[in-house]
Amino acid sequence: MSDPSGPAAPLDVSGAPLSPVVPYVDPERIAKVQRKARNNITISVVSTVVFVAVLIGFIASLPGWPAVQKQFFNPTDFKASFPSVVEALWLNIRIFAVAEVLILILSLAIALVRLSRVPWMLPIRAAATGYVDFFRGTPTLLVVYLLTFGVPQLQLPHVPNSAVFWATVSLVLSYSAYVSEVFRAGITSVHPAQQAAARTLGLSNTQTMRYVVLPQAVRRVIPPLLNDFASLQKDTALVSVVGPVEAMRAAENYANVNFNYTSFIVAALLFIALSLPVARFTDRLMAKQRKKTSAGGAL
């Protein structure tokens, strides 16, 4: 509970406040610092330009470059393959949008179950631990094959058997195991003093978790969560092994028919474009958090 306006003003002998002391800053020093900042920017820009120019110049001078450029970076094939790859990308986007929401819900539930200490929840706790061990130990591709080709053959009533449905379920089950560990780490990283303080205020365990611990925990683990989200965007390509045509399969189809791999470059660029907003958003979030938690002093 410190005074936000800084330490209290000093008083003289009679109790009246002394006039505030204003630190003297040499204008020459201000000019020097500004000049140095400008120089640094110029040097960084020039250095970047030179570096990129040297890299491009080196690659373009290699004897094999024209052949590689024709096969991988061909503008005609880029334009020709773009429509089919973009159309197929829509399937990837739909899958990870749905999967991400379900993953967050399921993994938070698993983390809370594993951290609970209530005695009657032991079998559920053991099941949750088994679930995490199993799905972290099994390749996601294997889970996709098993569930998509296996479960529909059981002919369970009222259960959809579409390949997209089961591939999404496989992704959710697989990723929830990893993300639940992230949540668990976040929750246990909140200092136990927070829980103790909440108890002294009379909050129950559930209220403590909901109002004190979880907000702090989730804020802490947003960077790793967004990391997993970016990884999920790429893993939606796994749906292609069970039939649906998503961006990578569309690129492969084009490459098979035309013997040109530029379509893969198109798919790669589209995936990068998808994950860039997430990456920059994470950076901004982390910078905002750093400013909030540190004193924000100008060094």
């Binding site: 080709f149 529909p152 579409s162 069970v242 045509v245 013997f259």
Partner: protein
């Protein structure tokens, strides 16, 4: 004395001339009729001397191979390979098999084998990156569906258009779906025919498209409760044909062509086809 020297000298010179003519190191086209001498085992530019290295995929499907063992000589393509090898002068023990995946074969990656045989259809696009032999089998595409399933009654192209179809990636079966049938729902693409069969079993697709011999094997052995809905007459002199794949501008291409020509004119190729693909006559044709 001089007469007896001239004759042997003349004969030697003539012999040298003939030997020089039949040497394989000529830059002119090597398809001259007397070049069968240059296709002899001794002069063939194979990767290893006295060995014919042949590539095919694993698993190798029946009826083209049997028990996934190309070296047992059983199966249509195994028999064709050993017959071609015999024409070129190789005994069965001089044939070595190497696993080459279908994708990499059609992409032109065949420099580590002398030739590859893997139900590869001859297409102009593929012919730009590999050499093909003359066709050794005319391929009809066939549609398979589960008995009593959603695809079982689609005996026309119009009916097929409404179905969810599946095929293996990179095949002419897939190209036939996308260019001839043009279904309203996107055709599903699988890494292998086995995956497509699993999807059919799980009722995620209505029908799959494969070549006719594979279709007969699938309906007979792999998926007994499936039927061949119909075949399309895509094979023919100018249509879909299987060819042996060699690397671009391979010196062996013309020799393999000659071997196949000899097998065709002697009737051996037809005998092999009848022996291993005899049941492929009975499927109905798809209507429009």
């Amino acid at each position: 004395m001089r007469r007896s020297l001239v004759l042997p000298a003349a004969l030697t010179a003539a012999a040298l001339l003939v030997a020089g003519c039949s040497s394989p190191a000529s830059t002119a086209s090597s398809t001259s009729p007397s070049a069968s001498a240059s296709c002899s085992k001794a002069s063939l530019a194979t990767l290893s001397p006295n060995t014919l290295t042949v590539g095919t995929d694993s698993p190798a499907y029946t009826p083209y191979f049997v028990n996934n063992q190309p070296s047992n000589g059983k199966g249509f393509e195994s028999a064709v390979t050993y017959a071609v090898a015999k024409q070129l002068g190789y005994t069965p023990s001089e044939v070595a098999w190497k696993v080459k995946h279908f994708d990499s074969i059609v992409a032109g990656n065949v420099s580590d084998v002398d030739f590859a045989i893997n139900q590869v259809s001859i297409t102009p696009a593929r012919a730009k990156v590999v050499d093909f032999s003359t066709g050794y089998y005319k391929v009809n595409q066939a549609v398979i569906a589960l008995k009593g399933g959603s695809g079982a009654s689609a005996t026309s192209l119009t009916a097929l258009k409404q179905l969810k179809l599946g095929a293996e990636t990179g095949t002419t079966s897939l190209q036939w779906i996308n260019s001839v049938v043009q279904p309203t729902q996107t055709a599903q693409i699988y890494n292998s025919t086995n995956d497509a069969i699993s999807a059919l079993k799980a009722k995620q697709i209505d029908a799959i498209v494969v070549d006719l011999p594979t279709a007969f094997y699938i309906t007979a052995a792999q998926l007994p409760n499936s039927i061949i809905v119909g075949q399309a007459k895509t094979g023919g002199e100018t249509g879909d044909q299987f060819g042996i794949v060699l690397k671009k501008n391979s010196p062996l291409t013309s020799c393999v062509d000659q071997a196949l020509a000899a097998m065709t004119s002697s009737g051996e190729l037809q005998q092999i086809t009848d022996k291993w693909l005899s049941s492929t006559a009975g499927a109905p044709y798809l209507t429009n």
